[in-house]
């Protein structure tokens, strides 16, 4: 048994030594256009391009790791990767367990996606089936405000929530507009975005372990640079067409 552990130790030692300077970036790979799997089977999207740009500017050697959304914060803390770029909004609740860089996508109010012929009275919503993705800011908001008299269904991925909406199993999906808008546009008139836009979340930032102050400083400095020279706005306009831009703030 001792020998086995020693062997495992050597494997782990060489493993970490080789990757000493490598930064592992964690993402979900199922939240287009933020992060998704492209036709080549590789991670792609706004955050992938932004992350690669940041690493290039900061002279870091970065690799991408995919992890399910559900366990993305616990696995950051367990050290499976060093940073999260997965469309994660900066919230007080998350700040209790992890740190965030400054935002790389400005605060954007959450919206509702529903069938084109549906209409709801959002002031007294009742008997409605609302789909959200587990552990998102929208899930928290829906539980707090709509739980009374409505059914809230949590899905592991946002795609599954939308698939269930298309199948008619739920009445609406509440998520970020950059994710829902292209779906409404691409649905051929079957789905629409309607109802109030709800301002929650403090923009999207890079999630980091609390102890990694150096990495946070590096990311923030590079993000400042990318915001100032317009690179970040160019990426936002490339991947989201419209969007809140940093130059307009």
């Amino acid at each position: 048994m001792k020998k086995l552990l020693a062997a495992a130790a050597i494997v782990a030692l060489t493993g970490t030594a080789a990757n000493a300077q490598q930064i592992r970036l964690g993402t979900e790979g199922a939240y287009a256009p933020w992060n998704f799997m492209n036709d080549a089977g590789e991670v792609d999207g706004f955050e992938i391009e932004l992350g690669n740009t940041i690493c290039e500017r900061a002279g870091l050697d970065c690799v991408w790791v995919t992890n399910e959304w559900d366990s993305i914060i616990p696995n950051l803390m367990a050290g499976n990767y060093d940073a999260i770029m997965a469309g994660m909004s900066i919230t007080e609740e998350r700040m209790q367990s992890i740190d965030f860089s400054e935002d790389y996508y400005p605060p954007d109010p959450s919206v509702f996606l529903m069938a084109a012929d549906a209409s709801f009275d959002f002031d007294n919503l009742s008997g409605v089936r609302i789909g959200v993705q587990t552990s998102t800011i929208q899930a928290g908001y829906a539980e707090e405000n709509f739980a009374d008299g409505n059914t809230i269904l949590s899905y592991e991925t946002a795609d599954q929530a939308v698939a269930d909406l298309s199948a008619g199993n739920i009445d609406m999906v509440m998520l970020d507009p950059p994710y829902l808008q292209p779906i409404a546009d691409g649905s051929g008139g079957a789905l629409k975005i309607d109802g109030p836009a709800i301002p929650i979340g403090g923009g999207v930032g890079i999630g980091l372990r609390k102890a990694d102050d150096d990495l946070e400083t590096t990311f923030n400095a590079t993000l400042d640079e990318l915001k100032a020279d317009g690179t970040l706005d160019a990426l936002i306009s490339k991947w989201f067409d419209t969007g809140p831009f940093y130059s307009e703030m």
């Binding site: 287009a32 799997m37 089977g41 367990a78 599954q160 298309s166 691409g186």
Partner: protein, 277 residues
């Protein structure tokens, strides 16, 4: 593709062919190797654990016998999904705890209290292959417990007269064990083992629980509706199509296994008197 073939099959066929041969689909096809490897090595380990477990249950030394019984009853009682999640995590943290003893200084541990691993140097990063190895061991431990019960039962099913006759011929204990007991045990164990194998094959669909991008995870990714041209081909909810391919795969594995076990039974029963051959 030549023009005449294109004309014959229509443009839709070429598009469909291009779609199912893109990199994303190849990643899916490639993921079948994880499932197959997990099945083969999981089963091999299950047989080893099963033989050891059965030997322990048959042992004359009381504590060893209790150990064998404890292994089969505990592991068979715990839901396999739970054990599948528990074992790799426990093993990883045990290794990290061991590493922390030599690598973490007191200051490093004090710097980030309440986090695991105690210090970054003790972190053991697991990739797909490490997780796959842990998955195989988990499958081996779980289904080894079932195999141990099957083999234990089969050992007892060997007619006492055969063993007595062997002893009467002057065979030593070891000779009776290997030439008669284990040799004849297989014919009784194979039906049960084939059952264990098929349940193990079904459990290989749990690999995605360990962050392995296996066939189930890819089927999910490929089948979810896509509304974005940036992502690729636009389609609705196609998950059932991909799940259907998985059904067919698992059913084919089942058919192949049944044939394989029939051949094994013929082999194990050679030279033995039996009504059903």
């Amino acid at each position: 593709m030549p023009d005449w073939l294109n004309a014959l099959l229509g443009p839709g066929f070429a598009d469909a062919l291009a779609y199912i041969t893109n990199g994303k689909h190849f990643a899916w096809y490639g993921a079948f190797r994880f499932t197959i490897l997990a099945g083969i090595f999981g089963a091999a380990l299950a047989l080893v654990f099963g033989l050891m477990g059965a030997a322990a249950k048959n042992a004359r030394f009381w504590p060893l016998r209790q150990l064998g019984n404890l292994y089969t009853s505990i592991v068979r009682g715990v839901p396999d999904v739970l054990f599948f999640l528990f074992f790799p995590l426990a093993f990883e943290q045990a290794v990290e705890a061991f590493l922390a003893r030599s690598r973490c200084t007191a200051e490093a541990i004090a710097a980030n209290p309440g986090v695991w691993p105690p210090c970054p140097d003790a972190n053991w990063i697991l990739g797909t292959w490490e997780y796959l190895a842990l998955a195989c061991v988990s499958l081996g431990i779980i289904y080894g417990a079932f195999a141990a019960s099957v083999i234990h039962g089969a050992m007892r099913a060997v007619p006492q007269g055969q063993l007595e006759a062997a002893r009467a011929f002057g065979m030593s204990r070891r000779q009776v064990m290997w030439r008669i007991h284990v040799r004849q045990m297989w014919i009784y164990a194979l039906p049960g083992l084939s059952n264990v194998w098929l349940i193990l094959v079904k459990a290989t669909s749990l690999l995605s629980l360990l962050q392995i991008a296996d066939i189930v995870m890819w089927a999910d990714r490929l089948g979810t509706p896509n509304f974005l041209t940036q992502v690729g081909f636009l389609h609705g909810d196609w998950r059932w199509r991909y799940y259907f391919v998985l059904f067919v795969f698992y059913i084919l594995v089942t058919f192949a296994s049944e044939r394989g076990f029939r051949a094994l039974t013929r082999w194990a029963g050679r030279g033995m008197l039996s009504a059903d051959r």
